[in-house]
Each structure stands twice: as structure tokens, then as C-alpha cells.
């Protein structure tokens, strides 16, 4: 079972081999390290940039305008907040030129909490990203989706953001959810594609022969069927929602869980069909809760089918504070965790019209 970070790496390999990716770059992306999270080890097109996020985003756009499909990494999304103007410009190359240009780039960045990253390595980026129009935005919750979403971003002619939940970097594919073409066990895969500790200058990866997988832009997945309420989430909180749903089944509560996967454009039809059926909606993410993307989904839900709802749509998100504190208690109290998610689902299921 590949981990999410291995899946990302394999997708990048496939992209540079078969989809014409010319550059994979960013801080510490090239040798010797191959990425702060090992996402870019052993890739032919990976190189180290200067420590300058504005230069990274600008260069990515420039390469894209010159027809070079590329993947640029911001080491942590926390360090993308000095580039919002450039992201806005990248997102408007087509629109502002009235369709004269496109910009086929992917910005990849780790997001969110879960590794005790303290104030400046725990930020979420989904609220910020979804407010920058002209980008397609993907965020996986499992390795196979990570692989397919990243490839889908890369082949798209538009600028795409690929947000990788830090907390799930080392999570492994569930049985039956493996990327095809990997016919070795975890250790075997690690031997093939994880760089050894120490000197790597003579190492070359042995890539398994994995196929092209894509997820149509804007297509969510219903990962658990249920009749009592609809939970819409993505990234780190998605597996927690599934876990909570599974545990609530014992209480007779059957929650449907939708993994959004694409935040822009997003799968409104699926949300609509589900919420109309269950009458109850919970939107879970870990970005801070004032001016939050879940609030957009909740207001649209309310606006469009208020009269069919059995309970008020609810948003469970991060606390509206400037950052996430380092100490365990602080991080736990700052962003949704399994108990708070379970409780929110239980409460919503119980609320009577």
C-alpha cells in the first residue's frame, strides 16, 4: 500500500515521463533532499529554487506561459501568503486576456495541522484558495486520489492548486484502493522508490509501472452511503468523518460522507442530491471559521433548499485565532478532531424539525 507521499511522487514521475512536465521545483525539491516530505525524491526534472516564494510562483507562471507544464512547490502553504497577488494574476491570465492565453501550471503545497507544526507550519489554505478565482483546486484524502488528482491537475490547461494534507502524508491506501501496477508490499515499494538515508548521489529509483489515473475536474466521491445526514469534507478531516460515521452506525445513525476532492470547481450536484435526501448537512474542514469555504457551501445549501432541510446546516471548522499553538492541548482545541466531529454529527442527526 503506497503512502500518500509515495503516491504524489509516483504521479510526478508519470507526469514527467508521459505528460511533458518540464520542471518540478521549489525550495529543497531537488537533490539531495527531494522535498521536505520526500515528495520529489528521484525525479528527473526536480530542482532546487532560491528561497523565494514570489520567485517560485512567478517563475512557474512564466514557464507556463512559455508552454512548459510545470509543478512548483511551496514548502508549506504557510509560506504562500506573500504570493496571493501572484496567484490572483496566475488565475486571471486567461480571463484578463479574454481567452488569449492559458497557464498550464500546478502549485503543490502541504496544508493543515496534525504534525505539531506550531504557528507557521499548520495553516490551512482552502479558505484563501477558494477565494482566488480562476484556479482549479484539488485536495486528496487518500493515496490513490492524491495520485489521480495530481495527474488531473497537471494535464489540465489551467492553473491548478494541489493541497496535500500534512497529516495524511504517511497514511496508506486502504485495501482495494491501491494504485494499480504496484505488485510489491510496503517494504518492497519503499526499497524501490524511497531514497536511502545518507548519500543518495548514486541512488536511482525503480519506478513501478503505474497507469494514468484521472479524476474528472469537479467530481467528488461518496465514500459512505447513509440516510440520516450528509457530511461534506476533504483532506485531513475526511477520514475522521468516515471513522465517526462508522462509529455512529452503532447508535443507529447512518451518515453519508462525501469527499469533495475538488474544491474548485466543486461537485454541487452530488451535495444537492445527498442533502435533499438526508435533509441534514454538516460541512467539516479545519481552516478558521470566519470567512471559511464550508460557510460558502452551507449558505448555498440553505439558500437553495431551505424548505427541504430537517435541521440547520452546520459548519465545523477551526477556531478563529491567529495560528495553531504548538502544545498538544492547543492544537487539539484549535481544529476539529474525532470527538468533536462525532459529536457534531450526533447532534445534527438528533436535532428535530
Amino acid at each position: 500500500m503506497s503512502s500518500m507521499i509515495q503516491a504524489v511522487r509516483m504521479a510526478l514521475h508519470v507526469a514527467e515521463e508521459r505528460h511533458g512536465v518540464t520542471d518540478i521545483f521549489g525550495e529543497d525539491v531537488g537533490p539531495p533532499l527531494g522535498g521536505a516530505f520526500t515528495a520529489t525524491q528521484g525525479l528527473k526534472r526536480a530542482w532546487n529554487s532560491p528561497l523565494d516564494e514570489r520567485g517560485i510562483v512567478g517563475t512557474s507562471i512564466g514557464l507556463g506561459l512559455a508552454g512548459c507544464r510545470n509543478v512548483a512547490e511551496i514548502q508549506f502553504c504557510d509560506y504562500a501568503f506573500n504570493t496571493i497577488d501572484l496567484l490572483k494574476l496566475g488565475g486571471m491570465m486567461s480571463w484578463a486576456s479574454h481567452g488569449d492565453w492559458n497557464c498550464p501550471i500546478t502549485i503543490m503545497t502541504p496544508v493543515g495541522s496534525g504534525i505539531r507544526g506550531s504557528i507557521y507550519h499548520s495553516h490551512s489554505f482552502d479558505a484563501t484558495a477558494t477565494h482566488i478565482h480562476g484556479w482549479k483546486i484539488a485536495m486528496p484524502s487518500n493515496p490513490k486520489d492524491a495520485y489521480a488528482l495530481l495527474l488531473s491537475c497537471i494535464v489540465d490547461p489551467n492553473p491548478c492548486m494541489f493541497l496535500i494534507p500534512k497529516a495524511l502524508m504517511r497514511s496508506r491506501a486502504a485495501p482495494g484502493e491501491e494504485i494499480p501496477g504496484i505488485d510489491v508490499d510496503d517494504r518492497g515499494l519503499s526499497k524501490l522508490i524511497d531514497a536511502p538515508l545518507g548519500d543518495r548521489s548514486k541512488w536511482t529509483p525503480q519506478w513501478p509501472d503505474t497507469p494514468d489515473l484521472f479524476i474528472p475536474v469537479g467530481e467528488a466521491a461518496t465514500v459512505r452511503k447513509g440516510r440520516d445526514l450528509t457530511v461534506v469534507s476533504y483532506g485531513r478531516t475526511l477520514p475522521l468523518c468516515v471513522k465517526a460515521a462508522d462509529s455512529l452506525a452503532a447508535e443507529g445513525i447512518e451518515a453519508e460522507v462525501i469527499d469533495l476532492r475538488w474544491l474548485a470547481p466543486y461537485d454541487w450536484e452530488r451535495i444537492k442530491e445527498s442533502v435533499k435526501r438526508t435533509g441534514r448537512a454538516l460541512f467539516v474542514n479545519e481552516d478558521t471559521e470566519i470567512t471559511n469555504f464550508g460557510e460558502h457551501l452551507a449558505r448555498r445549501t440553505t439558500e437553495e433548499f431551505f424548505y427541504e432541510l430537517l435541521a440547520p446546516p452546520k459548519v465545523l471548522a477551526g477556531a478563529a485565532i491567529p495560528g495553531i499553538g504548538l502544545a498538544d492541548n492547543l492544537e487539539m482545541a484549535s481544529v476539529p478532531q474525532l470527538p468533536s466531529i462525532t459529536q457534531a454529527m450526533r447532534d445534527l442527526a438528533a436535532s428535530k424539525p
Partner: protein, 333 residues
């Protein structure tokens, strides 16, 4: 095809240069009139920079894709576009934000072109962001080989943004120096802010030195000097595939933009006047020839203005058009 920067310009070339400078000036005057007559909400442009901007346009290797020059312009480049062969009426269309505006469909301010077939990337109002993107196109060109280079232009005040330094850093990396011609047109002003009290550097171009970047400050009011220095800087970049920082001292003849009135100033050198005096003295053109040339352009643009005024405005329903592309236009070309 390489150009010898030191070969003196032929009379034919000087006449062409002059004609484009006049046309550029007349175009800006027309755009200002459009603004003043209510046929446009905002004017910004380059009157006073023709002596630099015209040679630049003439020397650009124009076309689509990495074998041609990539152009990251700012908002004072209309004369460069003319020299490249752009239709001046398109500048009027963008000024009047018509649906026929080929640069932005009536979305962007005048002076903000985008022409993919000539590698002119969409001009943005955000000062200096173009300098962050220039290394990207230059990298593509370095790999592609050939003589195509990336040219990025901006003003003097804007060099205070970190993005200017970003371009210096990224184009001079020992692991991959880039074929970027960085141009700063120094008019000694940023809107109302005088340069002198704000700039610790004697010349902006000096900032390249620490990075081992070739740099030079030139008199941008003399088109022959500008031609020679641009050609020579381009030749350096085309052949060495390394960066060059060229600072051109220019005038700002109608103030910053319509926001500051767009009225003629009297205390700055007019490059066109100087050049015309020289052409007359050298007996290359007579005053009459030059006057009638100017009149011709003025008449043409006045007519064009009337026509553009009648062209359709974009429909409000189109605001969502082109948010996303379905085809990859920039690859394959």
C-alpha cells in the same frame, strides 16, 4: 540574424524610427483626448519614452514560442507595440473598452495589451510583478536554445518592490543564468514621488553589479543611443544567454496618468523635438515633411477614434467567459 549595434543607422532606418516615434506620440495624444472627451475611464501611457520604446520594438525578435522574444511589459509600451507592427486602433479599442478590444475584450485599462502571437504576456497593473515571471519564460528559452530572449520592462520607483530583486536573484544563479534583458525606464518619478529622496542607489542599474549582471545606464532620450545600447544589450543576452540590466533615463511628458491630469509638462526634455532638430540639421527630413507626417497620423487616428466610439460595448452576461480554458493554447503554439 544578428544586428551590429555599432553600425550607424541608415537614413532609411532613421526615417522609420522617426515615423514610429511620431506615430507613437500622436497615438498617446489621441488616447489622452479620448479620456478627456469621456471615451475612456483612465489613461496611462508612454509619451516621452518613444526614443527608447521605438528602437526596442524595432529590435525585438517577434513571434510566438520560445525561439522568439518573450515580452513582460508594463503600461508605457504603446510605442514599442507600434514599432512591432501593432494596429494603433487596437489601443483605441482598449481605451474605449469595446467588445472589439483584442487585448482584453474591454476588461482591462488602456495600455494593458496581451498578444500571444507575439509573446506579449498580459500586462498587469500590479507594479513589478512582471519581474517575477520573466525568469520562467527565460528558462524555457535557455533550454530551447536559439536566440530568443526574455525582455521585462518597468519603472524606477517600482524597483523598490522585492520583485525586482527576485529577478536579479533568479536570473543570475550560477546553476542556470538566464537570458533576460531587464529594462528600467527611469523617469525619476513614481506618480507624485520624486526619486531622489527615495533611492540610495546612484543608478538603479548598479544593483546588478553584486550579482555579476552586466548593467548600464543610458540616455533614453536619444534614439540613436537607445538603438545602439539596446541592440548591444540584446546581442549580449542572445549570445551569452546571461542577463543584462539596462536602465534608460526617460521623460514623462504628460504626468503619471489621467489620475494626475494628463496635461503636458514643460520642464522635461522632449525626445521627439531633439531628434527632429537633428534630422533637420542632418537634412534627412524637412520640417514640412515631419509636420505633414504628424498631420497624417493625427487625421488617421481622429477618424479611427470616431469609428471606435461606435463599436459595441461588451455584454454584462460575458463576465464569466474565459475564467477557464478548455484547450492548451500555449503548448504546441
Amino acid at each position: 540574424m544578428s544586428i551590429d549595434p555599432n553600425a550607424p543607422l541608415t537614413n532609411e532606418q532613421l526615417i522609420k524610427l522617426h515615423s514610429l516615434m511620431v506615430q507613437g506620440r500622436v497615438l498617446e495624444e489621441r488616447l489622452i483626448q479620448m479620456y478627456k472627451q469621456g471615451d475612456g475611464y483612465f489613461w496611462i501611457g508612454g509619451p516621452g519614452e518613444e526614443a527608447f520604446n521605438v528602437p526596442l520594438g524595432m529590435l525585438i525578435h517577434k513571434g510566438q514560442g520560445p525561439e522568439f522574444d518573450y515580452l513582460h511589459f508594463h503600461y508605457r509600451q504603446s510605442a514599442t507595440l507600434l514599432a512591432m507592427g501593432a494596429d494603433p486602433v487596437d489601443a483605441l479599442r482598449q481605451m474605449k473598452n469595446t467588445a472589439t478590444d483584442p487585448y482584453s475584450g474591454g476588461r482591462n485599462f488602456g495600455g494593458h495589451p496581451s498578444i500571444r502571437k507575439w509573446n506579449i504576456v498580459p500586462v498587469a497593473s500590479t507594479i513589478e510583478t512582471q519581474y517575477t515571471m520573466a525568469p520562467g519564460t527565460a528558462m524555457a528559452q535557455k533550454r530551447h536554445g536559439g536566440r530568443g530572449i526574455t525582455i521585462v520592462t518597468g519603472g524606477d520607483a517600482g524597483t523598490a518592490e522585492g520583485d525586482f530583486a527576485t529577478c536579479l536573484v533568479w536570473s543570475s544563479r550560477p546553476m542556470e543564468p538566464l537570458p533576460v534583458l531587464m529594462i528600467v525606464t527611469n523617469n525619476k518619478w513614481g506618480i507624485s514621488t520624486a526619486a531622489a529622496p527615495q533611492h540610495g542607489e546612484k543608478n538603479v542599474a548598479d544593483r546588478g553589479r553584486a550579482f555579476g549582471i552586466e548593467c548600464k545606464t543610458i540616455d533614453g532620450n536619444d534614439p540613436e543611443v537607445a538603438w545602439r545600447e539596446i541592440a548591444s544589450a540584446m546581442e549580449y543576452v542572445r549570445t551569452t544567454r546571461r542577463p543584462f540590466l539596462l536602465e534608460s533615463i526617460v521623460s514623462r511628458l504628460y504626468g503619471h496618468s489621467s489620475a494626475s491630469g494628463a496635461n503636458p509638462v514643460t520642464d522635461e526634455a522632449d525626445c521627439l523635438k531633439g531628434f527632429e532638430a537633428r534630422l533637420e540639421a542632418r537634412k534627412i527630413l524637412t520640417r514640412e515633411q515631419m509636420d505633414s507626417l504628424r498631420q497624417k497620423f493625427t487625421d488617421e487616428l481622429q477618424l479611427a477614434h470616431r469609428r471606435v466610439r461606435e463599436e459595441p460595448q461588451p455584454d454584462g452576461k460575458t463576465i464569466y467567459d474565459h475564467v477557464f480554458q478548455t484547450r492548451d493554447l500555449v503548448r504546441g503554439g
